[in-house]
Amino acid sequence: MTKILPKLINTFAVLALLLCLLLVKNTQAMSIPETKLQQTLAEHRGQVVYLDFWASWCGPCRKSFPWMNDMQQKYRDQGFVIISVNLDADKTLATEFLLGNPANFLVIYDPEGDIAQQFNIQGMPSSLLIDKQGNVQQAHTGFFTHKVKLYETQLMALLAVK
């Protein structure tokens, strides 16, 4: 019995410490990327926002960039803006990707995945359509070239709402 007691105390101490860490993590203030995104969204309230999550290692992301550039150009004047969140753990890979696939829209860097966690992203790439009031109306996981017509119809519908 006396042999087990110190071990039990040790185990409880470790568990208690872990519990504290968990609580601390959950009640932490928003990270820098999350703050940056909130500010940007606030600035664009009244516009339709396409929030895209991408990374350099994601093949379909490569396909989505030319389309996103097209959409940005086509609907900019109607109050449409694309905000992208890059999830590369290594920013240099993202920079390299952008050299070969230029982005005519804002990129917010989220290497720790804080924003992705906040929005509960289910797959890569992911996109959310946010209406003029700031509410998420559509969420898409994956980018499919045979679905681009659908994506465009959805954003046009949100632009049409006053």
């Binding site: 396909k63 389309w67 499919f144």
Partner: protein, 457 residues
């Protein structure tokens, strides 16, 4: 996927793309790019074919050599479907062990066709160098997402050489779950093979007949009406033959489970079951029938059961360190011929620079003998129902030691070189060697070099 920066407008890739498209009856999209109002770069990404080619040379010291060339083309379509086409051509030359045992004297054997014979020196393992064959193989595999988290794949295989035809189909279904961290898959395959060996299929345990056309040693003059053809000899030869051709079918099922452990590690576990039915003997292999002194009195064609059930379990892990990636796998196979085997395979990929890597490779293999394996037949014993002296179903260990060097060229294409050393060490599974057989090597080791060049574009 890499972006290719081609320097010359006309290149192999474009030519092959046009050729492949023509073969499939589709026009290459590149030709229609002018009509496309969306960005040409986008059209090219969706319609480009990726090619991989390789040339392999396999050479055993004193025995078989093989040269193999492969080219594969892969394309991803708009609905995320992938088509993979592969063409393989290989050519085999050299001598293979027949299963007959070495003797303290010169031995003469009849070629499988019956036309001509060859001799083996004293103390040497009998090798038949009749094997010269070229094989062509075509594979096509179609993979596509069926529904959210479900991926299906189906494929066909056709392979033809002078005396062998193999036709096969396969199908596979994979289900991803836990945010694609886990994948469960089931695969089925079915093959139908037909063997039409030169000289026909021998009767089990028939005595090797004498050659009936010794003047025509290489079988060049098949339609000859030369009176030196020994028609009695030919009749005797044909008496040892059962039929011209025979076949076998192979049905496989495999269950697989893949799990991402963490950001750096992935594992896979598979179980497979395979049933082969039909003609499973090797028509070119025989056993020496020896007396109590170990001296061969006759040579009898081998006989294997007409069915085989194999099962295996396989586990693999890949782990990404800071720079290097290690790949380790283990397979355990067991069957109803009493063969079981262990295979450990490991590779360590070490990046040397941004564009090159080196990958050492070590593989260890060990198998136990089939219950009907025996290195020779003793006259004093009754002929068993099944027997084979083919070392490839005897007890054996083998190891492979190799290294691969790969690099990315300035135009974005990949080039790699692989050099391996493969050594097979057959072992005794407990058969006593009487008399003269104790003086010879019944379990000769085989050394081989494997060299390969690969180019992706």
């Amino acid at each position: 996927m890499q972006l290719n920066h081609k320097k010359t407008p006309i290149n192999i890739k474009a030519a092959l793309t046009i050729a492949t498209s023509a073969l499939l009856g589709t026009l290459p999209v590149i030709a229609n790019a002018a009509d496309d109002t969306t960005t040409p770069a986008k059209a090219q990404q969706e319609s480009s074919w990726d090619f991989e080619s390789a040339f392999l040379y396999y050479s055993e010291s004193d025995r078989v050599s093989a040269a193999e060339a492969v080219i594969s083309a892969q394309k991803t379509f708009e609905n995320e479907a992938v088509l993979n086409l592969k063409l393989t051509i290989d050519s085999l030359t050299g001598a293979s062990a027949t299963g007959a045992a070495a003797q303290p004297n010169v031995q003469t054997f009849t070629r499988p066709s019956g036309k001509g014979s060859y001799q083996t020196q004293a103390g040497k393992t009998p090798l038949d160098d009749t094997f010269k064959d070229t094989r062509v193989q075509l594979n096509a595999q179609w993979t596509q997402p069926l529904a959210e988290n479900y991926t299906g794949s189906a494929g066909v295989h056709i392979s033809k050489e002078y005396d062998y035809l193999s036709l096969g189909v396969n199908g596979n279904l994979a289900y991803d779950f836990n945010n694609k961290n886990s994948t469960f898959s089931v695969g089925l395959s079915y093959f139908q093979d037909t063997f039409t060996p030169e000289g026909g299929i021998p009767v089990a345990f028939a005595s090797m007949p004498s050659a009936y056309d010794n003047d025509d040693e290489y079988g060049i003059d098949e339609e000859s009406e030369d009176e030196t053809v020994n028609s009695a000899g030919k009749t005797a030869f044909n008496a040892t033959r059962r039929t011209d051709s025979d076949d076998k079918t192979t049905a496989d099922i495999m269950f697989g489970f893949t799990q991402v452990i963490n950001r750096r590690m992935i594992t896979q576990f598979n179980y497979s079951y395979s049933k082969v039915d039909g003609y499973l003997s090797d028509p070119f292999k025989m056993l020496s029938l020896v007396n109590s002194e170990g001296i061969a009195q006759d040579y009898l064609y081998e006989n294997r059961p007409d069915s085989r059930v194999k099962q295996s379990v396989f586990a693999q892990t890949k782990y990404h360190f800071e720079q290097n990636v290690i790949d380790i796998s283990y397979r355990y196979m067991w069957d109803d011929w009493a063969i079981d085997s262990h295979t450990i395979d490991s590779r360590l990929r070490i990046p040397l620079s941004r564009n090159s890597y080196i990958e050492p490779h070590f593989r260890f293999y060990q198998q136990s003998a089939a219950d009907f394996y025996q290195p020779f037949l003793a006259q004093s014993n009754a002929i068993p129902a099944f027997a084979s002296a083919d070392y490839r179903i005897g007890e054996m260990s083998a190891y492979t030691l190799g290294v691969k060097y790969g690099m990315k060229l300035s135009d974005g294409n990949d080039l790699s070189f692989r050099l391996e050393y493969y050594r097979q060490e057959p072992k005794s599974s407990g058969h006593q060697a009487p008399g003269a057989l104790a003086e010879v090597d019944l379990y000769e080791s085989v050394d081989a070099i494997i060299a390969q060049v690969s180019y992706s574009f």
